[in-house]
Symmetry: C2
Subunit: 443 residues, 2 copies
């Protein structure tokens, strides 16, 4: 009868996801028991403010003021960490739960990006599961897909739209031709962006998620710090206009790929062909594509955030534990993860979109093209838009105004592009800093 005893859950952090989890376990309780082979019941909860009305009935559960106490309490078998943050209470309580021999389910990408290797080792030593489906791409089962479904694959590249806030902003900019600031303000009004949006629009949130996916996909230790991260705030309507003409869309992508010098991990605004499947992923939807030797290419799209969608992933992790399914935290024993060897971003090779505000005077463009040629950079296309000349009053000098020039390069080393742009800037032919957006070749 031991095997059919209810699985007792302790939930720390009763915010949007935590409340949704309580709701869903109530709503799906009977079915969950049938599917998992045993009842799943929340026995303990913990949150900062006990008096706050969360719209869920917590009266049947034991309240803990301290998450670490809930984590150590013998009244639950699984500790669900929904507190957030890379350190502090989240880390302390997850460690306490593991030390108490409990399985842990967490939605905390920051925690795992910073301490995933250490926590995976602890969980392994204690013989418990550390599951985190909800930590990357919300309701999309990408962790399960990478950890389990792709066991017979060697991944060559993984890329995705991993931040709904950025995708919402970029999609609206694209569709309505409006600027970044205006879209961001709308996103904040609609609850798609935080009051302090820097973590999302700066790319760090996507970077944390990418780090977790990379570890599983490539069998390496998690390294959330060693990657190139660039946010979306520099993208302007002029870039969308040019992208559209050239057959591209602009998305914030997280990309991880195997190169000769190591694993390249990067998060940056990216030009992707309109015809690619991921280019049609709009608004707050997330998507992850995996390219691997056996399966070829897989694409998973779904909600990247939201209480119930995220709680759906938490329940998936809990159900796995209830059934007794055990997978290594990052898909294999922590001791078998290879050290993460970072490929230098300057060695990145790809096409580049470059937008320059070139002073409209004789020889300017020739000088720029010359700088490119010196570094062996070949141009696939050049779009130069001449401004209509301003009418000048008799005897008045017409000021030299910069005209936009768009260049698309063939595959080039990042180091060369950067050198070229520095030199061009120093030559004094362009106004403003050059805009540079990487192009990703997608199948």
């Amino acid at each position: 009868m031991e095997a059919t005893a209810p699985l007792r859950i302790g939930v720390a952090g009763i915010g949007t996801v935590g409340s949704a989890l309580v709701h869903l376990i109530e709503r799906h309780g009977n079915d969950l028991a049938v599917r998992s082979g045993r009842a799943i019941t929340i026995t303990g909860v913990s949150a900062r403010d006990r008096s706050k009305d969360r719209g869920v009935d917590l009266s049947a559960m034991t309240w803990f003021d301290q998450a670490t106490e809930l984590a150590a309490d013998p009244g639950n078998d699984v500790f669900v960490e929904l507190i957030g943050g890379a350190d502090g209470t989240a880390k302390a309580s997850v460690e306490a739960a593991i030390a108490a021999g409990k399985h842990v389910v967490t939605a905390n990408k920051a925690l795992l990006a910073a301490h995933g290797n250490e926590l995976a080792r602890q969980a392994e030593a204690a013989g418990v599961s550390l599951n985190f489906e909800a930590a990357a791409a919300g309701g999309i089962p990408i962790i399960k897909t990478l950890r389990e479904a792709l066991a017979g694959n060697t991944v060559s590249r993984l890329y995705g739209i991993l931040n709904g806030t950025c995708n919402y902003i970029l999609t609206r900019m694209e569709q309505e031709g409006i600027g970044f600031e205006e879209c961001l303000a709308d996103a904040q009004r609609l609850g798609y962006a935080e009051a302090d949006p820097s973590f999302d629009v700066g790319g760090q949130d996507a970077a944390h998620k990418l780090a977790l996916l990379t570890a599983i996909a490539f069998g390496t230790e998690v390294d959330g710090d060693s990657m190139y991260v660039e946010g979306i705030s520099s993208i302007s309507p002029a870039d969308f206009e040019a992208a559209d003409e050239l057959g591209y869309r602009i998305r914030l992508l997280g990309v991880a790929c195997r190169t000769d010098s190591g694993i390249e991990q990067r998060v940056h605004p990216t030009m992707i062909p309109k015809s690619s499947a991921i280019a049609n992923v709009t608004s707050v939807t997330n998507a992850v594509a995996v390219e691997a030797d056996s399966v070829g290419e897989l694409l998973l799209c779904g909600p990247g955030a939201g209480g119930e969608a995220t709680a759906s992933s938490v329940i998936s992790d809990i159900a796995d534990i209830a059934r007794g399914d055990r997978v290594g935290t990052f898909g294999r024993p922590a001791s078998d993860l290879e050290p993460y060897r970072r490929a230098a971003m300057r060695a990145h090779e790809g096409g580049y979109y470059i937008r320059l505000a070139v002073y409209d005077r004789p020889g300017a463009f020739a000088a720029i093209a010359g700088r490119m040629a010196e570094l062996g950079i070949s141009l696939e296309s050049i779009v130069q838009r001449h401004r209509a000349p301003r009418a000048a009053a008799p005897g008045q000098l017409v000021p030299v105004e910069p005209a936009p020039v768009i260049l698309i390069t063939y595959d080039t080393h990042e180091a060369d592009i950067r050198t070229a742009l520095d030199t061009i800037k120093a030559d004094g032919h362009i106004a403003d800093a050059p805009q540079m957006i990487r192009i990703e070749q997608l199948g």
Copy 2:
């Protein structure tokens, strides 16, 4: 040490998928062992013709002339059935393996669509796994997603592009404006269609796959026979032309949804909005979308066929068994599956695309519109193209030629549409049988 003994696999059927499986287990052997916690080794094989060169080295494996003998042989722990066919050797050997207490992995949709309930009960009674990720949508991990990842969800609708042959043909017809027969011949030449293509283009292959997905998604017994199935051979370039103008694409969809009167399962050519994510799934790629209460909408796209992609799914099933993960065949105990209650297709409600060849004479169109109105069918749009009148020699009668009329209805009962079309046909105003394509509303 028992737990870390190699998992010994017997493979029956060494065709495209079987050979790929042998290759992949060789290629990924070490990594698979790390990920599964134990070595995975093929110890026995069986196929019809021993002398055939399959491009793989089978010399280290024991050869069995009879699949049933391999299935019963104590030299393997897992029986992989890649023989195919709903009955005969496939069924006999799977039953023999289960009777011998072995786990079974199969890619055989026909077998499970016909005998899934019975085999699931047998597997359950024997305490073994019956895994079949490769039986639906090739390399896409949709079985795992439905069985495990969506444990905390109630599915309301599931739809997908489940047959690569049909999708290839429809995509080419759409992109090149050519006819069905020509595309089919090309598909055959390229190996995308069988010499006898009727099973694919008639929709039965998609129907088998849909039946398996439906059982897991809705918790019902498998019923591969009780569904409406219509193939793609009636689709003409004129339909693609009209679809394009109206903002639609045409795909063969399998759709299962919950209705008041039961589960509606249907496979038919479908008009889907160009803006929908699945409309951008082209060529032989498959895709499955799931709409569920917690997660909202998920979409998975990937290869629906091909040796290595399908073998990737077989390996996923084997790795689950190697790790000791156990899930009910259809996501829950066979005894907990509800009987499948079929919703009558005539009760289906949706929009319809109708193309009629209307004799160009006074009152014809009014009569047709009148018939629609009598049955309460509202028209969302009407496109009538007048043919340029043929020049007649003096004194010669101009023959009345049919002109194409396209109607799009608002949501209507299938029964009413069928009655309307029967009546219109009987009225004698149209040449040829009316073309009718269901429209699916997609988010």
